[in-house]
């Protein structure tokens, strides 16, 4: 599925005020979606998933390559423009990881499924905090491992050029590597998050209020430098967690 641009034309918010904007995204773009709970983030992602044409509550419209997408082709043979990943999604098939990936590869008509399975497994392990093999059942993976596998599988094997990620911050995966993978596979990614580390990784950030887009922020140099500070704090946070998890006392306060 060839996609050069995805364009979102504004609709209206809960107060029926117009969102006066056009958001055009290209492959490799990471759009972070932020705002308080109930501010309209999920509805926005839902509009993209549905490729809304003014026929949803918000009245937004989504164009692919500047045109109304071919709705008849959408969904045929499991090929949708938009793939989705959220906190409440789980693996329900009782299969070993490699058999699971093979099944997906077969459905995608991949010529050499075994190579694909190895590639995804390696990528998933690269993202996961705790390593896992292809022999373990997908239902036995930890939260972080299953998120890592879902992201790697969606990035490498899903045909969808657009990926929606809804609040996966608590999963314990390497967020930077996950973003790098999505960029490398030229996905257009929308990431709804309350996590500052993740929110600052986007190429752009849209913020929501009253059920509508309240503005688009493009990070400037000062914010990019600030993002490094936030990352450092996060790294320290991870160290503290490891200290505690490994059965040590945490001594970080300055004592007299």
């Amino acid at each position: 599925m060839e996609i050069r641009t995805l364009t979102i034309l504004g609709g209206t918010n809960k107060n029926k005020e117009k969102e006066d904007l056009t958001l055009t995204c290209s492959p490799g773009d990471i759009i972070c979606v932020v705002g308080p709970t109930g501010s309209g983030k999920s509805r926005f992602l839902s509009d993209i998933e549905a490729l809304a044409q003014g026929d949803t509550v918000s009245g937004r419209r989504v164009l692919v390559n500047g045109m109304v997408p071919d709705m008849a082709a959408e969904g045929a043979f499991g090929q949708k423009i938009v793939a989705q990943l959220s906190q409440q999604m789980n693996f329900v098939m009782d299969l070993a990881v490699e058999d699971f990936l093979k099944l997906h590869a077969e459905a995608r008509l991949v010529p050499d499924a075994d190579v694909m399975v190895r590639t995804i497994l390696a990528a998933a392990n690269d993202l996961a905090g705790e390593k896992f093999t292809g022999k373990v059942s997908v239902t036995q993976l930890s939260g972080g491992q299953s998120r890592a596998l879902m992201i790697a599988d969606t990035a490498l094997l899903s045909p969808s050029p657009v990926v929606l990620i809804d609040e996966i911050e608590n999963a314990g995966i390497n967020r930077r590597r996950a973003i790098e993978l999505l960029v490398k596979k030229e996905k257009i990614s929308f990431i709804a998050t309350h996590d500052p580390v993740l929110a600052l990784m986007g190429t752009r950030r849209i913020f929501f209020r009253d059920g509508g887009i309240a503005g688009i922020i493009v990070p400037d140099d000062a914010e990019r430098e600030s993002a490094v500070c936030v990352q450092q704090v996060d790294d320290r946070w991870v160290q503290w967690r490891e200290t505690i998890r490994n059965g040590n006392l945490l001594h970080i306060a300055q004592r007299k």
């Binding site: 839902s46 998933e49 549905a50 490729l51 809304a52 044409q53 026929d55 949803t56 709705m71 008849a72 959408e74 969904g75 045929a76 043979f77 499991g78 949708k80 793939a83 989705q84 990943l85 959220s86 409440q88 999604m89 789980n90 693996f91 329900v92 098939m93 699971f100 990936l101 099944l103 997906h104 459905a107 995608r108 299953s146 879902m150 599988d153 969606t154 094997l157 899903s158 045909p159 969808s160």
Partner: protein, 238 residues
């Protein structure tokens, strides 16, 4: 009046999907009624009444639900027309996987849920294979990979169908479904209309209330199973 037949396995989300369809049709000014076919209990009728949807219920009781459906569909259409609906939706559960209420010239929807397993699109027969639209529900709780495998296998079973992913709880996906329902044909009567696939046959002593087991009690359309030859069956004898 327009007519849509909705079928699908029990608990796949038919009623939820239909309620979202009705809300969307209502916002277009299209008045809609429902005929709900059930076997034993009319629980879902209350759900429709709560949503102020005019509903008629058909309980098939001791009869094959599919045969009961098709024997009553003409009267359903008459009821819908008399009630002044612009659209009538029938809901029936495909209990035996061989059921198929879809009628030629009438828009047919099959609702299946992704939690039922990836082999389901192959297991469900003409109800899915001959539907115009297949709605896949409960995709919000499984992985992208599982959704793709399920959708792929669905389109393998029915290459002509439009496939729509929908969340029956939130209604996400309803816009996609409605796009495939913009040109539902008018149906003035289903008299002389033809089923897309023959109903499963049932004509034996058990149809008439026989409860005893044994060849002596079996009359009519009875077929025997084939078993593997006994010497080919591995024996677990110690």
């Amino acid at each position: 009046m327009k007519l849509i037949t909705v079928a699908g396995p029990p608990s796949s989300g038919k009623t939820s999907v239909i309620l979202h369809m009705i809300a969307a049709f209502r916002s277009q000014g299209i008045s809609t009624g429902v005929v709900k076919f059930d076997c034993l209990s009319p629980d879902d009728t209350e759900i429709y009444e709560k949503a102020s949807v005019p509903v008629a219920t058909g309980l098939s009781g001791g009869l094959c639900p599919d045969h009961f459906f098709i024997a009553n569909i003409e009267e359903c259409v008459e009821w819908g027309k008399k009630s002044g609906f612009a659209l009538l939706i029938t809901e029936s559960a495909g209990l035996c996987c061989r059921c198929s209420p879809h009628i030629r010239g009438v828009t047919g929807i099959c609702v299946v849920d992704v939690l039922s397993g990836v082999n389901t699109p192959r297991k469900i027969g003409p109800m899915l294979r001959l539907a115009d639209v297949v709605v896949i529900t409960k995709g919000d709780v499984v992985s992208q990979a599982e959704r793709e495998v399920f959708a792929f296998r669905t389109s393998r079973s029915n290459p002509k169908a439009a496939i729509v992913m929908m969340n029956g709880l939130t209604g996400q996906g309803i816009a996609g479904l409605m796009r495939h329902l913009s040109d539902v044909p008018q149906v003035e009567t289903v008299k002389d209309a033809v089923l897309r696939f023959a109903m499963p046959a049932a004509l034996c002593s058990y149809c008439l209330g026989e409860t005893r087991i044994g060849r002596t009690f079996q009359i009519g359309n009875v077929r025997r199973m084939d078993f593997p030859k006994s010497d080919k069956v591995s024996r677990n004898e110690n």
